[in-house]
Symmetry: D2
Subunit: 383 residues, 4 copies
């Protein structure tokens, strides 16, 4: 594993490293951790990376690693830079034969996303996109139950991602993460929708198996002086006739990462909340609510889906959190890559992580939300 | 207290009677309980109403009661009939000098609502509209805190009323309450928005003190064969620049009355949920969440608002529920009417119940939601 | 209904009046509200009681009411005085032919309780004891499910009543309720156990249908200067071999009335919490937890017990609270008394309220807890 | 890191490996994973351990590793065998200069524990005991707040560990973990108290800083045919005069690992629950409840303790779970060992993990609980 970005001052790099380490399946062997050489050097040292494999740029890293013996060089590249530096290293890595793990949103623009998809298809390599929240076991259980028809036809979907951390103009107060995320040159067309809206758009499509077909967006920049939207509400319509609502806000003061999804079908509804991730609330018509919990060995007809159990590390009663959900993406990515390397067919459970298609889908979502927001027409179609 | 509608087979009549009885301030003395004379008679008997004051029609009731001595006749009329029979008895009652309590939505149409408002203004009488949910102490506490500026300027409001009871075509299965509520001739222009959307539109405006100025609505009839919408999502804009979302659904399978309101301001956010009505969750920036609870004698600066304590009957730790919230509307209505009868000025706490203005506002909301739903323009202005 | 005690300055009087009023089945017609004649007079006035039926003493009240015509005089007496003034008015009322509602603990001493039981048996009259918490529908559902064997044989019971309101020496700071409750001459042998321990001892026996057969108590006076225990922990053994724990504390700082009961059997467990009274959490082995909620029309095999539905006033989704639970005791008491007056047999649902037997049981519990606390032997037998 | 026990069929081995891997500070280099050589071999293979460092016995492992060059050989030994195989490998490891991580309860008997303590003291090496639950950040926050006096003097402590997994006679149904845990020859004097009671006894003493000075225990074997107690209730008294209750049950049917602690002091109370580990509920007198949450950058006076933040990996809003709490013990152990190796003084935050003293304390607790259970005296002193 080699890392682009993720120097010691970047929170998301730590998350990736813990997630990758967790199962003992990957080891950080090299990195281009920072555009600041000193930060890069210190990061490498702190992370036990050999000094000669701490590179100044991703170009240097990919070039030099390519020339190392196969059993020495990195197996894949993790890209955790700001959005505008996703495409170039991903493209170069893939073209040099490296699989890729990439932070969401996948690219800066939809065009880049589509091009990346073509490269992935051409090279046959694997790209994992870290839409973390679909890595939780109870999210996978939700998907499995809907897929089995336990709710009947889906009628309504409500997804939310309320955060409050940009309630002030933090980008002017030395918050580096806030600075690039609110800068259209680094983040992309939309602030709230690119950074967090894509997460819950993905969640809605992942859990229901439906596709958003039309939307009506209302984006806002609620903090004066900010350069990108920090808040948005979107009406949704899905390809099966269901309707929905998506809320993504960075100015929902007091909220942390209160992601939630609710799905209502003909026969019942379900609810999942990220702050309480080991519970899945299932409400079937005419029955008491059932609370499914991670790791339980329920008996038929309640048995947890293989997709849930495959992504659980320890028995019931031991709370699993975001790092484990993140680790599930890494684990499934690595299992898939290993299977492919060994000429085996990955199982559906292994393949169950967000890939380049989801990345394109996310960028299209951002594009359409921005288009809708600028339109006085109520509805904007999504392909 | 005389009652129009609310015979033994109607759930809402029971609620009104319990709410009115609760504080020993009102007594049911007469009624036109049902269009079925036998149901009317049996209802009167069961409710300890003297047989000669069980009337066949509201016209007969108002006429005959008017002629009784002042200390014998009813003091006010409660109207709990389906929506299309709200206006006529309310008008007649007011014009005969009786104060009125009326179920929401106030009337069948906006036109009726406006006319009723004129009559109320002309007669100087009092009309209470039972938007129950603003009767909860913790909702009043939320309003008071926002009014005091504890959240700063309001930026975002999310209100929801998800129910699942119309997930099937119950109006064809002998459910009388479902039958009239889904019949456009009895219910009005909208099903979900008239029946429950108005409740949360009121809640949003009551709690924030803001007015909805624009909206973008998407209504649906999700159950085949139904004659009115049973589900809707509405984007909101408020007169201070805040934005919002309103969801009202009768096909949110598995939900009971999961009303909630979340308000986000510059300095913090708050949340209230009807299924957990004695808690108010307050999240100020940079502080742990605070949970305010009904009936507590907190000390400064946490002291509960006089509007909360005035509407609480018992000390902390004793859950109060919907009937008490309902009783608060009755109590404040009666206190206001009594004060006016005695030539006194009701206190702001007494006057704190939904009145004819809120009724007009609700009917305008329904009108505009339906108009928006039929429009391909994104935004529809609300006066 | 005539009331002994419960003048305007006493919270519990208000609770009784609201509970009795709620269903329109009872009317307050007379009272001996206070030993202070002026308080008594003002209370009567505020409560719409005719001045000539506001009495100075309970003796006067019972004597004079007895002489009124049957259709005028009070039907029953409610006793809401401090514990040491329970027995005398109850005895006199019963001996004069009046049914009785009485606050818990039923009497000052076990001896009084046993004597009262004999009088009740002799007179054939009805005595209701307001152990409010067993009036909640979901508590009744818990009892019904255990009774049906859904948990299998009960193995373990944990009941708690943590309060924090006596964390300071409030009895010296003008808190009248605290003053008599901590005064052994007015309250009885135990503070915490008489006032709140009896509630949860009752709850444990009511819900499980078992009887406490042995106990081991550890009582404490944690606030210096207090005259009675304000805190206690009790190990329990039940007559079927189950074990348990009872915690009752008035110095659990920050708690309101956090009553809870958990029962574990061979096949599953259940949990109920007073601060969230409309939920019953049922955990059967090998299944997701089920959450039963008040007022739902679940279908088989989940249908709510007739004991739960009989004690619910409104459909699902409308939170019911303590006043309704209290009202259930009044309603069942009145329905039972009416049935008996009419020569009918009350149904099991009507008879489902705490009566004189439960009152004796509570006083025996207090006695044995105090005895155990003073003993160095581990176990003290109950009957 | 070398491992004794923890072959692929043992859940706890996985937990240890994930926890140790998480921060990239340790690497599994050798192991004596199983008494079954084939399981050992397969485990080593699956865990990427070089075949020549997969040993048949812990004796072989310690002996051979001792002879490897310092920079090659393992740095510490992790012991995850059943209780009766804790002492011997721990002793041998320490005597050969290896630091030790050991599962709780630390040993089979109190005598072994005391001897181990002497060896630790003599060698100056470090022993970490995996009382996982005190590794959660919000538990550390609770300890810090109590230590700062925010609750005033502690008056009452309630700790619980209810599990339901032994509700049936699973030890006869092929459940290996159940088999040794219920076998007095492998587990020790007590089943429920050794396995889970020690966890919450530790939690009570860790959070409050108090010591249990007396106890009164009631242990039960509720499942017929079982050889050790599976359930127990213990009354506690602490060295400052506080009282408490400890409940540990393996037959609390339907419960997972519902560990909780509640502490009540003169000025307020607090509550923590393992199933919701990122929340700490703080209830100060006369104030709304405050909910402290992991990872937040609260401002004064709410700033999280350095002991909480040191043990948090990622910002607020990302749930951390049991594996992170476990990882905290490993991280602090490794940081402490490294500091000592480098001749530095570990910080108090580094030293904040359970050590040999806590292990002795736990074994003494088990001893005294069993002694008390067999006694008819109410109280048994704990030194």
């Amino acid at each position: 594993m080699g890392m682009v970005g993720g120097g010691l001052d970047a929170f998301i790099g730590t998350v990736h490293r813990i997630a990758a380490n967790m199962d003992g399946l990957a080891e950080l062997v090299c990195g281009a951790f920072s555009i600041d050489p000193e930060v890069g050097r210190l990061s490498g040292e702190a992370l036990f990376v050999a000094p000669d494999r701490v590179y100044a740029t991703f170009e240097e890293m990919i070039e030099k690693e390519s020339k190392l013996p196969e059993d020495v060089r990195m197996d894949f590249v993790t890209i955790v830079t700001p959005n505008f530096v996703h495409f170039a290293p991903a493209k170069m890595a893939l073209e040099n034969g490296f699989n890729v793990v990439i932070e969401k949103p996948m690219t800066f623009s939809l065009e880049e996303a589509i091009e990346l998809q073509k490269i992935v298809e051409r090279t046959g390599l694997t790209l994992a996109l870290t839409h973390t929240y679909s890595g939780y076991p109870m999210v996978k259980q939700a998907k499995a139950m809907i897929n089995k028809g336990e709710l009947g036809k889906v009628r309504k979907v409500i997804v939310e991602y309320p955060q409050g951390w940009l309630s002030r103009l933090s980008e002017r107060e030395g918050n580096a993460g806030a600075a690039w995320r609110t800068d259209p040159k680094k983040s992309g067309k939309s602030g709230s929708m690119g950074d967090i809206g894509t997460h819950v758009a993905h969640l809605a499509e992942y859990v229901t198996g439906l596709r958003i077909s039309e939307l009506c967006a209302d984006l806002h920049t609620m903090v004066e002086g900010r350069m990108l939207d920090d808040d948005g509400n979107v009406l949704l319509r899905f390809d099966n006739g269901a309707n929905g609502v998506l809320v993504a806000s960075q100015i929902a003061a007091g909220e942390e990462n209160a992601i939630s999804i609710r799905v209502y079908g003909e026969k019942g509804g379900l609810e999942w909340k990220q702050h309480d991730p080991n519970n899945l609330f299932v409400r079937l018509l005419d029955q008491p609510m059932q609370v499914y919990r991670t790791g339980n060995a329920y008996q038929e007809p309640y048995t947890l889906s293989s997709f849930a159990t495959h992504n659980t590390r320890i028995p019931a009663g031991h709370p699993e959190g975001l790092l484990e959900a993140f680790g599930n993406i890494y684990r499934n990515f690595i299992l898939t890559v290993s299977a492919k390397m060994n000429g085996e067919t990955p199982t559906p459970e292994m393949l169950d992580f967000p890939q380049v298609g989801e990345g394109v889908r996310g960028m299209a979502f951002v594009d359409k939300v921005v288009e809708s927001n600028q339109s006085s027409e109520k509805w904007t179609k999504v392909d």
